[in-house]
Symmetry: C2
Subunit: 504 residues, 2 copies
């Protein structure tokens, strides 16, 4: 049984509420050591240790923070083959082209970009008003940040190595990480690398801590604790909003990335002239990672055109020819089955795939559903719910007015895509539809499928509620993502020797 990593020590839980082991979703076989589900005394110990470290961490120099992150990145880079192997076994995601070749390097790169932001203080937003003797910039929350990673990115969004983690550390907040229970061995290995990097630094031992797992009620208690400054969470709407409601009671900020259906609108000109190349691009984009991305394009709006019916057939054929998608877990499989039954009950028809998972392990046929725009618009609240995994809902729209109605009826989305023909015939509708779609989505794409989230300072990975809970912040992209875990700190008439050097 592995312990939690609290105040620099690996400790058996003070209160053990249960235990679990990893599952290989390719075979459904349980494997490896047991991990503990801890209790409120462990939460208390981690929060106390973090609180005791706040003051020292707040005084850490840019170099101390950046060196730690760079060192951690180098250790991850050196151990990527081993990490990718463990993560593959726990998630079913392939090493290549994914964990070893894409997600691992992305994780390393993200930590290095955070280190660079720590060095150049670019997240500080300093404003100095000499005339009034006032200066302000961003500082630590002065409290712990709880980083809770999702099932689908064991490295790049892990609570102990992802953007939330790196952002909180640059802002000088002690991190308490929570592993997603889908990949505890990957998380443990990352924590050991973080531990080595932390020991090589002179940052406080409680700068990073790890509690593997909690029961839901203890999670809510931790969220509501006034010693907590913020929560960074990527996962389901239900869990996330419950955490936020608890966090609001204690005053912690919540940054939740909750997914969405990421609508794609194919416009008539593109459908007529360019239907096959669109179909290939769509299948290539939608089928990445078994469709298990927050930004997976799950809703495709087709125009009424001679080619639309053949396009649907083309997509259905392509989906039928794909081997069943490897899912991350049994939970994804049962979520999909429920979602399909809910979509069909609301009027969607099955064009490819099935309503049931298959084996070995946890797999699911690539599934395509379709519905008319009238039916969609009559039940859009149900039909726009995310079905996480290898599923696409096609909506047949007859008119530009219907497409506009679909756009205006959308809940907040991480992304939205317009696909235009190259002959200019779609330009007028694209401009008009884009105006309605724009405030509904964090990122608007054109002739490009969304799953990719570039590590760019111009990226926005977030969006209006309920895709996230604060559309003013991005979960990805330095230095912007760092500002989530900061507070404005203003100095009014304070003597030069008592204000941070850059503000003097």
């Amino acid at each position: 049984m592995h312990g939690n990593w609290i105040a620099g020590q690996w400790r058996a839980p003070i209160e053990q509420m249960g235990e679990w082991q990893a599952v290989d979703p390719r075979s459904a076989e349980v494997f490896g050591d047991a991990f503990p589900i801890s209790g409120r005394a462990d939460v208390d110990a981690a929060l106390s240790a973090a609180t005791a470290a706040v003051q020292t961490l707040a005084q850490a120099s840019n170099a101390q923070i950046a060196d730690f992150l760079d060192d951690y990145a180098a250790r991850i880079e050196a151990e990527l083959p081993a990490l990718a192997e463990i993560a593959e076994r726990e998630t079913g995601l392939p090493q290549t082209p994914r964990l070893l070749s894409v997600e691992g390097p992305r994780t390393v790169n993200q930590l290095r970009l955070a280190a660079a932001a720590a060095r150049d203080d670019s997240w500080r937003d300093a404003v100095i008003d000499r005339e009034n003797g006032i200066a302000r910039w961003r500082e630590s929350l002065g409290k712990a940040v709880w980083c809770i990673g999702p099932n689908n990115f064991p490295l790049a969004f892990n609570g102990i190595s992802g953007s939330d983690f790196a952002s909180a550390i640059v802002a000088r907040n002690p991190v308490i990480a929570k592993a997603h229970p889908g990949h505890p061995n990957t998380t443990l290995k990352l924590a050991q690398l973080a531990e080595a990097a932390l020991q090589a630094s002179d940052l406080p031992a409680a700068t990073v801590q790890l509690i593997h797992h909690l029961q839901p009620e203890d999670g809510l208690r931790m969220a509501a604790d006034p010693r907590l400054g913020a929560i960074g969470f990527t996962g389901s709407q239900r869990s996330g909003l419950a955490l936020k409601s608890a966090a609001d009671r204690g005053g912690a900020l919540s940054y939740l990335e909750l997914g969405s259906v990421n609508p794609v609108f194919l416009l008539p000109g593109a459908a007529s002239a360019d239907s096959e190349s669109f179909a290939s691009a769509f299948v290539a984009g939608a089928s990445l990672g078994g469709g298990q991305f927050c930004t997976n394009p799950g809703l495709l709006v087709l125009p009424h055109a001679a080619s639309a019916q053949s396009l649907l057939q083309h997509l259905a054929q392509a989906y039928q020819q794909l081997p069943p998608a490897q899912l991350l877990s049994q939970a994804v499989a049962s979520g999909l089955a429920n979602a399909i039954s809910s979509l069909c009950a609301a009027g969607a028809e099955l064009c490819a795939g099935a309503a049931q998972s298959c084996g070995p392990g946890y797999k699911f046929p690539w599934t395509l559903l379709s519905v008319s725009a009238d039916d969609y618009l009559a039940r859009s609240q149900v039909l726009q719910q995310e079905a996480f995994g290898p599923l696409t809902l096609v909506v047949h729209s007859a008119t530009a007015g219907q497409r506009q109605a679909i756009a205006t009826g959308l809940e907040g989305q991480l992304t939205g895509t317009l696909w235009l023909g190259s002959d200019g015939s779609d330009n007028a509708e694209a401009a008009e539809l884009g105006r309605w779609l724009r405030p509904k989505v964090g990122r608007l794409l054109e002739n490009k499928l969304p799953p990719g989230v570039a590590l760019s300072p111009a990226m926005h990975h977030g969006g209006p509620f309920p895709s996230s809970v604060h559309a003013g912040f991005s979960a990805v992209g330095m230095p912007g993502a760092i500002t989530r875990f900061t507070q404005l700190a203003c100095y009014d008439n304070v003597g030069a020797e008592r204000i941070p050097e850059p503000l003097r």
Copy 2:
């Protein structure tokens, strides 16, 4: 009976739930026309009209927005004598030195600073990544913003003329303003000036709307409506947090400015050498506006020094010599009486003033309470609760350790002040105490009393929970305050003709 201002028309409420009139707090006399308490049908009408205006307003040019704000500012400036006269009658705040000479010009200036920010797009935070073809900046929430002003600033924080209002308009969000029921005639006059400015512009009629008053349950329903993008609120914790909880259900962002006790720490060197000048400065600062400021210094921590007892006597004498404070309303008087009874039950002793309001109208004696640090620390949750109005709680601290314990036990505060002696003997403690106080306060002051909130881009008017609900944003200071009412909008691979011109 005055109507609401909905979609450009003054309309009697669709559902009238009650009515009320203004009260002159100097005499307790009711005066003037009746104003309606409206119902949910009126909320629905305002939200529908705002939603219909979103698209046009989002396309408004910088000049359209700035010209409207400048025109509105000029109209307020021209009508300041009349506005100050109405506001004085409704709030008891003096015209000079306050409504006419300070708050009025501040209101005009703030609108002009917002207009300047609209012209220069300084709130947009544009980031362009040419290599990846991605650009992002800040845009409108694409939904209505509800601006709810407090009782204590009828002009500068009014829901229809304050920083929340100006910020939301610059960000292209239609505003639904709610008057504080303490000054409906002032608000009506402001709305008429806004109406004239709006008619002179070509902005949509529903760019600004006014619903005078709602029952609490209808207010919560409005907060939870998914057509609402954000709430800007200044007022009590209880009302604000109830609104936030409702807003979270529908996804609206909440920016609440909820007040605090704004602790002032007098350090031993200053107490020994400079006690009288501190006392004069403190009385001058604390007694402004009847102590009815969010940033009023309500908690004074004195050191153990030979002079501390005489300082307390000096303060008590000064408070006794002040004429009773004119309160804004009966509600402030009863809140004070309750607060004093709660503070005394927790161990505080009355040194000056009384536990009862007095007349004519709503007045209250300047009240000074004191408590030992041990007693304070034993019941700090109760003793640090804000008592809005002419009241100061003095804490006698024996050691630097006690002062540090007081600082670390504070809830989030808008401001915190250190008062140092000029001989350098307080410097070491100031540095250490400042490190603990820093993360607890939005603005740290030194040898300066807090009530003033300069209109500076470096100002931070906000702070950690529960003084506000997001310590990363300031309610005052352009362009920062504008960003509260925006979302990040990212363009990925979007054709140049379909992205905003500055991002091309």
